[in-house]
């Protein structure tokens, strides 16, 4: 459901009764055949031409170069095709549209290519059931894929992520409430620092926790320190995105709440946060998806181990990203690289689960109701009708 269809969805029955002639809405962003076929034709022509020149006639090689040349030739062909029918202004306009669209396609292609490649390379390791039920405790570098697994990494990653989320999500949302609702002189510098910290080098987060917790307080490397480092990294991301979400809550709702005599605290707790709940859920889980894949904050904080260690407060605990780093870097035998890709696929699946959960749990515009909420409102309205005059019960 897109946000655009919301008004119709709210009251489809109300719109039906007046029998006006069906009005066809003109869609501003409609794509016409005149726009589609020249693009397809130019693309086909470009691939064919470049294939002949690049692969057959000229001494070039390499897939990346091939597609770069294709793209350049495609743009030239498309400009020529458009220029046969339209003037210069339209040529520029259409070229801009095609360049914008292909840039988005490129992003999509990179994602698809990466996921596909990781899945392809990781498949051999993952299909052995021991990969998800064993640890590397009794497995050496030269042993085949039928031995050893990444169970310890998954446990460690989930626990460290849990610690990071427990610390960073409430604090991040509270800081966002401060920026959006309370404000004051402090808000401006805090907002600038938060924006700056979203691009904090991940390795610095790890170094910071190492310098404070491990060197100064004198504890050993353990999962909790890793969770702390992830939290330092997550906090600004959650804060910034939550502030955007809280700002999307319409001001009229706040004013209505104040007009009913609610205090600021009541307004935030009962009106603003519930209205933004879906968005806040999305940004929190997206922040978690970002954090679970971070390697650099863990480098100094969690230590390396091949044992299963379920206690994040004692002993080293190696998370998935660090495990991949370990597999790929320290021991470049074929099986270890396969294990690295298998662990990469596992990590990718964890990220994708979090990512889909973020979209499924939230992803609605503020104030947009779920189906259950809409049903409840309808039911409440029916009850109120039956009681005749019971004009509300506060919720």
């Amino acid at each position: 459901m897109t946000a655009i269809s919301k008004p119709e969805a709210a009251g489809p029955d109300l719109a039906a009764p007046p029998q006006a002639p069906p009005e066809r809405r003109i869609r501003l962003r409609r794509v016409t055949a005149d726009e589609v076929y020249p693009v397809l034709g130019s693309a086909a022509g470009a691939i064919a031409l470049v294939w002949v020149l690049y692969e057959q006639l000229l001494p070039f090689s390499g897939a990346v170069g091939f597609w770069l040349c294709c793209y350049g030739v495609f743009l030239i062909l498309y400009a020529a095709v458009t220029a046969m029918r339209y003037g210069q202004r339209d040529v520029v306009d259409r070229l801009a549209a095609v360049i914008a669209a292909t840039a988005a396609l490129f992003a999509l292609a990179v994602i698809a290519e990466q996921i596909g490649y990781i899945a392809y390379r990781g498949w051999p390791a993952v299909t052995h059931s021991n990969f998800w039920t064993q640890t590397m405790e009794f497995t050496g570098q030269l042993q085949p894929l039928t031995s050893g697994g990444v169970l310890h990494g998954m446990v460690a990653s989930l626990e460290q992520l849990g610690i990071a989320a427990l610390l960073a999500v409430p604090l991040g949302i509270l800081a966002a409430v401060f920026l959006a609702e309370v404000g004051g002189i402090l808000a401006h510098p805090v907002r600038i620092i938060v924006t700056a910290m979203t691009a904090l080098p991940e390795i610095v987060a790890g170094l910071f926790v190492y310098a404070t917790v491990i060197l100064t307080l004198g504890t050993r490397q353990d999962g909790f320190a890793g969770g702390l480092a992830l939290a330092v990294m997550m906090l600004p991301i959650v804060t910034r995105a939550s502030e955007v979400m809280i700002r999307l809550v319409p001001n009229s709702l706040r004013e209505a709440s104040y007009a009913l005599g609610a205090s600021q605290w009541r307004t935030v707790w009962n009106v603003v946060l519930p209205t933004a709940r879906s968005g806040l859920t999305t940004v929190s889980v997206l922040g978690m998806a970002r954090a679970v894949g971070e390697t650099a904050p863990l480098l100094f904080t969690t230590g390396f181990t091949s044992f299963l260690n379920a206690n994040p407060f004692h002993g080293p605990q190696t998370g998935m990203p660090l495990l991949i780093w370990d597999f790929i870097r320290i021991s470049p035998t074929t099986d270890m690289i396969e294990r690295g890709f298998g662990a990469g696929l596992t990590l990718l699946i964890m990220v994708l689960i979090l990512f889909t959960a973020a979209r499924a749990l939230g992803g609605k515009a503020p104030g947009e109701l779920t189906r259950r909420q809409r049903r409840r409102i309808a039911r409440d309205a029916q009850i109120a009708d039956r009681q005749h005059g019971g004009n509300s019960h506060g919720s």
């Binding site: 992003a107 390379r121 604090l171 004051g184 910071f208 310098a211 894949g293 990469g344 990718l348 992803g363």
Partner: protein
């Protein structure tokens, strides 16, 4: 004395009709006081963490910095044990990688953002935003192994082509006869993979700014007969200039701090890199990551000093970006 003497006439009953705004005051309840204090503390905590990072890095790096001093910024060697270490050779390549990454990422990211906010049909917009978010969520280590195992063999061809045909530009030439080993692990490859990682940052911030361009001015441009691209150039891009600059700088900061991708792809050298196509390079973050297993206090101190340099440089770049982004969102208090 004189003010007191003059006061009575102005407040006398001679001008009773003058309107004064009534002083409106709200009494803030204890719950609200607690709430505001809590929220302020959370905001302060973010500042405090930033300050603490700087403080602790300075404290822990002090032994190195005291021994080496300002020469740490210019020293080309990395010989920690003999107190002859510095980031003079590494910092330029860190900046070079970030700069090349921006050259590749910015056009793609801006075009993607324009597509999402201006061209995409409303049905497609949500999935497009999801793709950009997913691109940001894919773990950096996966970018790293993808870049190392998939992209590197396919990238040598294009590097060789550039070196052969554009080699008359001095820094694009890779000296010596062609060997794949000369081109693997190059600065350019690392920068290309990093560029893919900063595309989502630049794209999502600039998309936010683009979509805030006022609808009235867009419609005015159309009413004057503009094409869509004409409208974008005349209305959207000028309106979003500040936000775009901020987004690009934020991407620059992110690219400089990128760690694991560079540590996987690049083979470390300690010299000033002048040929980005040639194998070998370095960056501060990658150096720290490579030596993370070290336990000797002097090495750790030197690494933390390098981290401090990185932190200060990125924080300055990012804070300027943050100021520009915050300023570009004029009407921040009233928007939506």
């Amino acid at each position: 004395m004189s003010p007191m003497a003059e006061d009575p006439p102005t407040t006398s009953l001679a001008q009773p009709a003058e309107d004064r705004p009534r002083v409106v005051s709200t009494r803030i309840g204890p719950a609200d006081v607690a709430f505001r204090t809590g929220a302020r503390l959370a905001g302060l905590l973010v500042l405090a963490i930033t300050g603490l990072i700087a403080a602790f890095l300075i404290v822990r790096a002090s032994s190195t910095l005291r021994a080496i001093g300002w020469r740490f910024l210019t020293n080309l060697q990395w010989l920690v044990e003999t107190r002859d270490a510095g980031v003079g050779a590494i910092l330029p390549d860190t900046i070079l990688i970030a700069f090349i990454a921006l050259l590749i990422a910015v056009p793609v990211a801006l075009a993607t953002a324009i597509f999402i906010s201006e061209y995409a049909p409303s049905r497609l917009r949500r999935p497009c935003i999801a793709v950009i978010d997913l691109m940001a969520a894919i773990p950096s280590i996966l970018y790293g192994i993808w870049g190392f195992f998939w992209l590197m063999p396919r990238f040598i061809g294009i590097e060789r082509w550039i070196s052969d045909h554009l080699g008359f530009i001095p820094f694009l030439k890779v000296p010596g006869p062609f060997q794949p080993g000369n081109f693997e692990n190059s600065t350019l490859l690392a920068a290309t993979v990093v560029s893919l990682m900063i595309i989502p940052i630049v794209a999502s911030i600039s998309r936010e700014v683009f979509s805030q361009a006022p609808a009235g001015e867009r419609e005015a441009a159309y009413a004057l007969g503009s094409t869509r691209w004409g409208m974008i150039r005349a209305v959207v891009l000028p309106y979003a200039r500040g936000g775009m600059i901020g987004a690009v700088m934020l991407g620059f900061g992110r690219a400089m701090g990128e760690t694991i991708v560079i540590a996987i792809i690049i083979s470390q050298v300690f010299r000033v890199v002048t040929h980005p196509l040639q194998s070998g390079g370095n960056s501060i973050a990658a150096l720290i990551a490579q030596d993370a297993g070290e336990s000797s206090p002097s090495v750790i101190s030197a690494l933390i000093a390098a981290g401090l340099v990185l932190f200060v440089v990125t924080l300055v770049v990012n804070a300027i970006a943050g100021i520009i982004i915050a300023r570009s969102r004029s009407g921040l208090q009233t928007v939506d």
